[in-house]
Amino acid sequence: MKFSRRDLLIGTAGVTAGIVFTPVPWKLLGDVSIWSQNWSWIPQPAHGPVETTLSPCTLCAAGCGMRVRMAAGFPVGISGVANHPLTKGALCTLGYAAHQLNWHPARLLRVRHSGRASSWPEAQAAFAAACAEGPIAVMDGRPGRAASVALETFAAKHNGSYQTVPGPETQALAPYAAWSGVPASTLGYDLENARTIVSFGAPLLDGWGTPGRFTRLWSARAAGQSDPQLRLIQIEPVLSHTAARAWRWLAVREGTQGALAAALARVLVEEHLVKAQGPLPEMTLEQAAVQAGLPIAEIRDLAHAMVEHGPTVVITSDGDPAVAALNVLLGAVGTPGGIILKSKVIPRHGAASTAPAKFRATVIDASVPWDLIPPAQGEVFRFATWDGGDSKADWLLPSPGFLEELTDIPTAPTSATETYAIATDLLAQPQETQTAAQFLRKIDASLPDVDKSIHARCEQIFQARLGTIYAGQSKPVAQFESAAKLEEQLRKGGVWLSEPPRNATLHCALKIWPAAAATAPAAPTDWTSTWAPPVLPPLAAKLYQESTVREAPARRLA
């Protein structure tokens, strides 16, 4: 049979048409699509065994309960613990991307001295020399931890000074501590029993305190209700996210919150809205109203709103005593729904340190946020996980990152109940890093070890037989067979809660109306105000760059 050109064309056309009806071209198309999505430069997730573990968050003092999803030994996802007694399943916005922080470009992994690369032996030698020459100051941003015991002991043994650097939430409680004579660390907010909360600029719905505690409370008792069980009155110059969702928002003039507090005090006392007869501010109602930029009728209305739906508590974003004094007039100090004494505190072992006037060097623990570092004396040895620049320290010493060290989390500043949790090192500590406690132990090997201090704390809790351990479900401490079993539960992500808050009267010796803070504090309405690291997870750009829901934060971003 002769094979003609026509046959060739027919055959080619037939084969071409036939192929369309086979899976071949479609399979090829699919393969090309898949292949073209797997370029070598496209990052691929690491695959390996997936497991979920519980841990408290260590990024700020709140210690929120986290569920950490690990794959191939790395954390790949973070979520809240649904029934966690403190956080009720919520985390702060940035916490959901916290597991990315260890790879942040600003991660500090090399020792630096005066802006130049250095080494741990050089830092050790410089610090040993400083110790030999004079007293040392040690700054701790989160006192009460096991690591704090080592820092405190070192300062005491070396004629130094152990100094704590309080965060804004602790500072806000400082006036009550000064007036009542109890430490600020023993005070907390009884939010659960309050029916009206007057916030002077505190970002209550935006990361304040233990995020989740208030947001869940507000959601259940206030959100969407025209006459809510819990009234949130927000006083601040701008319409922040908290102000936008508050029952009422008062736009006070910037820096005049003290004046508004004085005006409110005048109305509360002069119109006999409270039992207290004073003290009264020198400023008249008219003068204060002019300063605050609010009509007198509105101030009067606010004062009435503060008392008509009690208990009422005033929360400040800072420690402005003039605003804090409102709580004294309202009788909100030492009463349910106000500022209360935390539940029974189990005293922690510590060592008293002296306070010399001058220091040869200062050690700043990584727990002190970069934004809060006070002026330090002498040669400054700054421990940090993320690089905050060389301007505040002579030595920059890399610290373990998120979930890279064994640490414990004592009670959060705003909490009404004493708590304790342990965060284990889910990730191996990088060899380039040391904690301040590890560093100091190389100078003085007799310092208490963090592991042993945690064990001692668990033993204290076990011996006290107070409260419950929550690890999926609550179990009274009294039902634990041993301290070791209790510690085991805590190391698995459990949290200890002491007994409910004490119903104890606090007498505040407030004879004269306190002056307002000398300088207007920076309004902490920034959504990162409670975020301790100097950097944000890269995914945070979703909020301020790829959307307009947030302003870009006024902090250094890498």
């Binding site: 496209i42 997730p45 942040h104 989740g212 959601s219 995914l539 909020l543 307009t548 829901v549």
Partner: protein
């Protein structure tokens, strides 16, 4: 009976914190913003907008509205325009599935979407060195040139299916399937459930007088419902726009 997964978002509870956006991006391996990315060119399968009553000063009121793919049930616009069959309405779940492997990047679907809930990958996905260790192994990374959107955390749905299969069940337990945004919302503003189940609390919430859907008049039957008691927010929604016209996106 097949499920119809949907959400009811309570706008009165939304504080605009953005936790849903971050949790979504983390769960679905969405890369951090490229240097030139904006709210229109970035990738935010869940995007929170700010609404206002249009007034200034002390009379101003603001609220927040999270917008994701509305999972349109009827004549799904993106499905009907896709030349590649890269978008499908999953009949068993009601989820509008986007398959980036098939996507040619023509962006017809983005044009067709009345809710602006679809995003194009304008840049190669990039993370800082080493951060790829933090990627979710259950979700593949999309490349430059394809469209993506919310798929209701489909990897979590698969996990729930596997768990059900391992237990010898044919249906998933809804407690095992919770999208990341729902899980992350600190005020519980986002509720997720099966709208095909009349007894599901989400179905009941979707039928409450306070509930509404965006652009209901175009008849695409979205499965994302909203809820508010605030008259001004409702008036804004009823004014027809699918887009938050009073939003700050100008």
């Amino acid at each position: 009976m097949s499920a119809r997964y949907g959400m009811v978002i309570d706008l009165d509870r939304c504080t605009g914190c953005g936790a849903c956006m971050i949790a979504c991006a983390s769960e679905n391996n969405v890369p951090p913003a490229a240097p030139r990315a904006t709210w229109r060119t970035g990738i935010t399968p869940m995007l929170v907008h700010t609404l206002s009553n249009g007034k200034e000063g002390v009379d101003r009121r603001e609220a927040f509205i999270p917008i994701a793919c509305m999972q349109c049930e009827h004549e799904t616009p993106c499905v009907s325009v896709c030349p590649q069959q890269a978008v499908e309405l999953d009949k068993s779940t009601g989820i509008v599935m986007q398959m980036p492997q098939r996507c040619l990047g023509c962006r017809y679907c983005m044009t067709a979407c009345p809710y602006h809930a679809r995003y194009f990958n304008w840049w190669d996905p990039q993370w800082p060195p080493g951060m790829e260790h933090s990627l979710n192994p259950g979700v593949s990374v999309r490349m430059r040139g394809v469209v993506e959107k919310c798929n209701m955390c489909h990897a979590r749905y698969h996990d729930a299916l596997q768990k059900a299969a391992a237990a010898g069940k044919k249906k998933i337990d809804l407690a095992d399937y919770v999208p990341a945004c729902v899980e992350a919302c600190p005020t519980g503003a986002i509720a997720f459930g099966n709208l095909a189940d009349p007894n599901d609390p989400v179905t009941m919430a979707a039928k409450s007088p306070d509930a509404f859907r965006l652009l209901e008049s175009i008849g695409t039957e979205p499965k994302i419902h909203y809820k508010t008691t605030q008259a001004w927010i409702r008036a804004l929604a009823d004014r027809n726009s699918g887009r938050p016209t009073e939003a700050q996106h100008v």
